[in-house]
Symmetry: C2
Subunit: 421 residues, 2 copies
């Protein structure tokens, strides 16, 4: 994998040019892209042109190669949202996050494969750790592209578990910030209450650096020695349990962090959070039927089966059910804020287990949905694997708005995991 921080330090030291960084990406892409299929569109020539701008080294990302999930509009590259309806579509403007990446000195290397409208109908991307397995979704190409060393930073979006789950399956760091920290303007919307923009990079320190540079915020955790966090481990969940392998990894991480000085306690979720878990489907269903009304009303035959099922009317939530789901959400957010009186972060599996075999499904988001709805920052911490070598990630969940502390705790865990191996 390409560490964003490592590349940036070399560019700052003058031992690597932005063009040479792109050359390294190009080599990895030449070697494995045909197998992995991370890109919807690749633009190495455009990236090389952008890298020759001498001012780019003075900006925070220093000309770092960035992949943009093909759910974000780009004015100079096709934007198809993983949908046949939008074949060859050229938006009139860049998404806000894309403009922010360019302002920060990031160079867009290409668009990465998304599931159809970031829902569940998969693209062609394969898992770099085992191409017979899914990379997860919906940010499939962005997670696989980091794992394969194609880019240093990629963007993602999460409505169910579309950042944290593929990060877990691909063994990379994934960061879903607090709701609204990174703008979703110019990102194809499924659910305006839940859709959240996020980022991927090789390590927690790398993804924190990228978020800091793009967001213009104090989020970096490299070089710092944060105090040991108070961690609440979520072993029992109000949804189907994790695999035995994943449960084992959760125990290992809890043990390793405890050994490193963290205070680790067991946490149980109050009942309203189980209700909120169910409310997620109601809010998603209600809003998706409106957000994607044009596509459904005019192009239904071109939609994939999962999305068609979501948008068909048979189980459509009513406005009354939707309002109730929003009410439960607000109550759950308050209950969750209270939980954070006792712990700094919550530790949970990032996914039910390792990446499932096959490409027909991108896995499921049971371990992510609640946190997406709560709007809290989540970080996938990579570094562990199952006996077959498939990555297993754990998720650090922080208090809304405490993104830096959440990244710092995730960095603490990542360091503890590395030390324990």
């Amino acid at each position: 994998m390409l560490s964003a921080l490592d590349l940036v330090r070399r560019i700052e030291a003058g031992t690597l040019s932005p063009e040479q960084a792109i050359d390294r990406c190009a080599e990895a892409i030449a070697a494995r892209e045909a197998e992995i299929g991370a890109f919807a569109t690749l633009d190495l020539d455009g990236a090389r042109r952008a890298a020759r701008d001498p001012s780019i080294r003075s900006r925070p990302l220093r000309g770092l190669p960035v992949g943009v999930k093909d759910i974000f509009d780009t004015v100079d590259l096709p934007t198809e949202y993983g949908s046949r309806i939008y074949a060859g579509h050229r938006p009139a403007a860049d998404a806000a996050l894309v403009s922010m990446i360019r302002r920060a000195g990031g160079i867009v290397l290409g668009k990465t494969v998304t599931t159809e409208f970031a829902h569940m109908d998969p693209g062609r991307t394969r898992n770099p750790h085992n191409p017979a397995h899914t990379p997860g979704g919906s940010s499939s190409g962005s997670a696989a592209g980091i794992a394969a060393g194609f880019m240093a930073v990629t963007t993602g979006s999460q409505t169910g578990g579309s950042v944290i789950r593929p990060a877990s399956y691909c063994g990379v760091a994934g960061f879903k910030p607090s709701y609204g920290l990174l703008p979703t303007v110019g990102m194809k919307c499924v659910s305006w209450t839940i859709d959240t923009a996020g980022l991927f990079a090789a390590t927690v320190a790398d993804v924190a650096f990228a978020a800091a540079a793009i967001g213009g915020r104090d989020l970096r955790v490299d070089g710092a020695s944060p105090g040991a966090p108070r961690i609440g481990v979520l072993r029992r969940v109000p949804w189907p349990a994790a695999s035995a392998d994943m449960a084992l990894v959760l125990d290992q991480v809890a043990q390793a962090t405890s050994t490193s000085g963290a205070r680790v306690i067991d946490l149980t979720l109050p009942p309203v959070l189980a209700e909120a878990f169910k409310a997620h489907a109601v809010i998603l269903g209600y809003e998706a039927r409106r957000s994607l009304a044009f596509e459904y009303d005019r192009h239904r035959p071109l939609l994939g089966p999962h999305l068609r099922e979501l948008l068909d009317d048979r189980t459509a939530p009513t406005a009354v059910a939707y309002d109730e789901a929003r009410r439960i959400t607000n109550q759950a957010r308050k209950a969750l804020a209270n939980l954070f009186a006792d712990v700094d972060v919550i530790l949970s599996p990032s996914a039910p287990g390792a990446a499932p075999a096959g490409l027909a499904s991108t896995g499921n988001s049971t371990f992510n949905r609640l946190w997406t709805l709560m709007g809290t920052p989540c970080v996938n911490v990579p570094g562990l694997a199952d006996p077959d070598g498939l990555p297993l990630g754990v998720q650090v969940i922080g208090r809304f708005g405490n993104d830096r502390a959440t990244l710092a705790a995730a960095h603490f865990l990542e360091t503890a995991i590395a030390r324990s191996r």
Copy 2:
């Protein structure tokens, strides 16, 4: 003006066809559009074709002619956002609200003039009550188009006071629902925290009917006899005071509603709401710099002077200032919710006074900004005027999520005003 309810009842009774309703619009448009300039694009032929679909009479809006503010994407009509950057732009999809209007049986008659990106640089629309005066903005064409009888329902959006103020200036009903009640998906974004979609119609009962039909919600207030509301009158505000004419109208309305049986008390805002009033500018400035980053970075010379001033870096709020403004906003929302323990709605001027002379400015949003940031439902109640015959509207502000009660209280006021004249 064309009453949506009146037209719908005639269509239901078979005494008016949807095509004849469009003919009535066409007559009004032929008589005054050259003077008023409400439309960015007019499509009478397309509307007549849609009106010939026999199924349209079975849907809630019954083929009612609707105007769409040119800040919402339409796939079949140009969408220019009031900006030279987007001259002739054809979006790839309808905005969610446009799809919902079509689903509900509304017929899009045209796109209405917006200020540039719904900010402060005006379009060419004039006030139907006196063409030498502004219609207000940013939803200039939507408010003026209702006042001139061009359409029965129009869409608007409000980030400062862009629905309630032009409704007040043009003497029509304007409804800014609770944040998120009507989707902003496919609406050009300025501020993702504040942008709110709204509606205009001739009377409060008409706009409530339109919101109910489009939103699929129990919001109608026609035919009902709501109990007299408890009203808190906001005579002292933490921003510049209203004109003497407007203050007089506020007293008249308070008196008329009291005579009609409402309990009317004087209300004072707690200090955190004055802080939130100031926080509005910070949130708007921070988010607009990101939402409109593409337009600023690539097309700055094509932006109007007000928008350029907003987006220029000199006074750019930092992330720290933005986070603090969001924190104040959350505190203010709680304080406001507490205020609603004692009153059902708040009564305030809709604008500082009547529509100012001239077209260079669309007036200011001091009386609206706080409520937009709070996300509470607001209704402009028309029916009163200054000595020169220029409309003066009052604003009914309800508790977040209590949209029906807010509309019912506004309807009560509208009836009381009519009775008092």
